[in-house]
């Protein structure tokens, strides 16, 4: 009855000892309040460098809220209050002296719904490098745009129409454009908030393939509703429920041998 469904996990994690990786991001006793609502309760988590960590859990469990704490996107919500520590490379990102704009340049974000700017494909990718003054010449910028689009495996599809509007691309291409846009500022961490929820299976497969490649250079945190997706792309998985981090561990262990019954119930489809 309680037998676990078989999830295909990537080959890398069985060979590479995940726990050995240095934590890039650490959360300690993180609490988030929306006004009176206690959305995240005492979350402690270590996110290893150059790997993919998946946050899973039912809707409203706080996984997106926690993700948005990592680049302080919650700052824009006036009633939101965060306590505890989140460190990136042992630096407290909620420190008063830290400039949130610089933090967001280090921690890129890809949103649930593709949101390319209503500008040309080229301008979409060039936007970040321009505002951060990363380039001195047009040739440098051209190069950044090309490499970013290549890393987002979009270059071959758009190289002949860089001046066309980014909003004219298909949904999957738009999402890869958003990933290219995030990569262009050379962040260390990329946060992905259900990046495939608005895409069809083929576009989803491409994004997942891309995530797998990107983890060589970036630390990736992905929120997803698809447990298959979490199993396919991530090395570690954290299960959130009602604002609590119930269980966190190597992805194959979470999906084959969860220690908490709530995790087991969730991944076997008993709720959520």
């Amino acid at each position: 009855m309680n037998s676990l469904p078989t999830f295909q996990t990537t080959a890398t994690q069985s060979t590479a000892p995940v726990a050995a990786a240095r934590p890039k991001i650490t959360g300690r006793n993180v609490n988030v309040f929306y006004g009176e609502k206690h959305a995240i309760k005492d979350v402690n988590v270590d996110i290893p460098e150059r790997s993919v960590m998946a946050f899973i859990g039912p809707s409203g469990c706080g996984k997106s809220t926690f993700l948005r704490c990592i680049n302080r996107m919650n700052d824009t919500i006036s009633i939101c209050r965060v306590t505890g520590n989140i460190n990136i490379d042992e630096q407290d990102i909620y420190d008063r002296d830290l400039d949130v704009v610089q933090l967001r340049a280090r921690v890129g974000m890809v949103f649930q719904k593709p949101n390319p700017f209503p500008k040309s494909i080229y301008e979409n990718v060039a936007y970040g490098p321009r505002i951060h003054g990363l380039v001195k010449s047009k040739t440098d910028l051209d190069e950044i745009v090309e490499t970013s689009l290549k890393k987002a495996s979009l270059w071959n599809e758009v190289k002949d129409r860089l001046q066309e509007s980014g909003t004219g691309l298909s949904g999957g291409q738009q999402q890869r454009l958003c990933i290219a846009r995030a990569i262009a500022v050379s962040p260390e961490v990329i946060l992905m908030d259900e990046p495939c929820s608005a895409l069809d299976p083929i576009a989803t497969a491409k994004i997942e393939e891309l995530i797998d490649e990107l983890k060589q250079n970036f630390t990736i945190v992905i929120v997803t509703h698809s447990m298959q997706q979490a199993a396919r792309v991530s090395q570690r998985t954290a299960f959130f429920h009602l604002g609590i981090l119930v269980e966190e561990g190597a992805t194959d262990q979470i999906f084959t041998n969860p220690s908490d019954t709530r995790t087991r119930d969730y991944i076997t489809g008993r709720f959520g």
Binding site: M73, T76, G108, M109, K113, P116, F117, P118
Partner: protein
């Protein structure tokens, strides 16, 4: 009479609606599904068939009857009157109407009294005939409509078709009115251009219509109808107004939509919109009594020659007047830019001001441009502020410190007071109106093209 009959028709319509509805309900019994249409549609159907044709008769008859009667009476008494000019016949018609239905006639004589008696009796006959026709049509329509109500009868389709016709008629009236205005503007302008050469009008550099000779024997001055000073005056004041209104309005809109707390916004936006509700004449005396003296005094203190009525004063006040047009519309379009674009930009490490300058404003550009175009049209059409603050002198100048005048002000001046409608001085107003119309229209078209070319479309 018209209103009484119209009220009666409304009452009949309500009554037949109720009758039709209850007929439908009783036909349906307990089985509503057996009826094709809901009872309300049967009620509306019966009201339409009963009242529709009588209403049409009422409207057409009320418009046509006076003209028919007039023709009949002038035909009958015209010979005895011995008068034939249009003005005399108009006077005759007014007099007998006054005698017949109460009022003060201009001339009272035997012919007119007799004609009035005839008019009064014919009027009774006419009204009687009309009521009879309406009643017949109403009763016939009611019987037909009532008989048609049956389970299979498609009342909903009929009623919806009638509503569609009604909507189309409304749209047609609006469009025909516009066309009528433009056509009359063009024909009157043609009369003007037959008296004054269009070349002189469009390219002339002096505007002195006041120097028209009133009579043939008068030693008149040389009236000149050169339109250029008015155009430059209009453009100068509009330009000054836009220099004030565009930055103020757009920045106010950005503040309200992206920086203000919800509380500030809830208060600030309505307050700003109150500006649009102030009558322009109030702005006018604000301009004339406060702003113009202030500008003159400041100018004098700086050693500048400033006219007591200046284009600058009028332009600045007009700019303040149109700030709410720009800010309110821009605020709406800036708010309509999806939050996801702002988030996307912020997620890349853009500051709030970078996000607004590089993402939000470009995305909102089409709406902002149309807000500006509306403001320009408003500024060009504005009269009161200019009359009070910028004067009537048609100086050809680009110096904002001098008195200028605008097209609309001159139209107002030309048509104020007792005027002959066949002198070039009066007809010039139509020429000015036509040119103003063409200028505003082409501005709108150009702006539309610009917007379509540069718009950044978000889904």
């Amino acid at each position: 009479m018209f209103l009484t009959l119209f009220g009666l028709l409304v009452a009949v319509a309500v009554a037949s609606f109720v009758i039709g509805r209850s007929r439908s309900v009783s036909l349906a019994g307990n089985n509503y599904a057996a009826m094709h249409s809901l009872p309300g549609y049967h009620g509306s159907w019966l009201a339409l068939t009963t009242v529709g044709i009588p209403l049409l008769i009422l409207i057409v008859w009320s418009i046509a009857a006076p003209n028919v009667l007039r023709q009949m009476l002038i035909g009958q008494f015209g010979a005895q009157l011995g008068a034939s000019s249009a003005a005399q016949l108009d006077g005759f018609w007014r007099d007998i109407q006054a005698l017949a239905f109460g009022g003060t006639p201009g001339i009272r004589d035997a012919v007119r009294t007799e004609a009035a008696g005839v008019l009064a009796s014919r009027q009774w006959v006419s009204t009687g005939l009309m009521i009879a026709a309406m009643a017949a049509a109403g009763i016939g329509g009611f019987m037909y409509g009532f008989g048609a109500i049956a389970p299979a009868f498609r009342a909903r389709h009929r009623v919806e078709a009638a509503v569609k016709v009604f909507l189309a008629v409304s749209a047609t009236i609006a469009i025909l009115t516009t066309i009528g205005i433009v056509v009359s503007l063009i024909t009157e302008s043609m009369r003007f251009f037959s008296l004054v050469s269009p070349i002189d009008f469009l390219f002339g550099l002096t505007w002195t219509p006041q120097q028209m000779a009133f009579r043939a024997d008068q030693v008149g001055g040389t009236a000149a109808f050169g339109f250029i000073p008015l155009l430059t005056g209009t453009l100068l004041i509009t330009f000054i107004a836009m220099i004030v209104a565009a930055p103020l309005g757009i920045m106010a809109a950005v503040y309200l939509s992206d920086y203000a707390t919800p509380q500030v916004r809830a208060v600030g936006k309505p307050v700003l919109e109150i500006l649009a509700g102030i009558p322009t004449v109030v702005y006018g005396f604000f301009a004339a009594l406060t702003v113009a003296p202030f500008i003159r005094n400041t100018g004098h203190a700086l050693g500048l020659e400033v006219a007591s009525e200046s284009a600058l004063a009028a332009g600045v006040v007009m700019g303040i007047m149109i700030v709410p047009f720009v800010s309110s519309l821009s605020d709406d379009v800036i708010n309509a830019v999806p939050q996801s674009l702002r988030d996307g930009s912020a997620g890349l490490g853009a500051t709030k001001s970078e996000t607004i300058r590089k993402v939000v404003l470009p995305a909102a550009l089409p709406g902002i441009v149309s807000a500006l175009v509306l403001a320009v049209s408003r500024a060009m059409g504005e009269t009161m502020i200019v009359v009070m603050a910028a004067g009537l002198a048609a100086n050809l100048t680009l110096n904002p410190l001098e008195a200028v005048t605008t097209v609309t002000v001159q139209i107002g001046t030309l048509l104020t007071g007792d005027q002959e409608f066949d002198s070039p001085k009066t007809l010039a107003a139509f020429g000015l109106g036509l040119v103003l119309f063409v200028v505003t229209l082409s501005l709108n078209l150009v702006a539309l093209r610009v917007v379509n070319k540069y718009r950044e479309q978000y889904d």
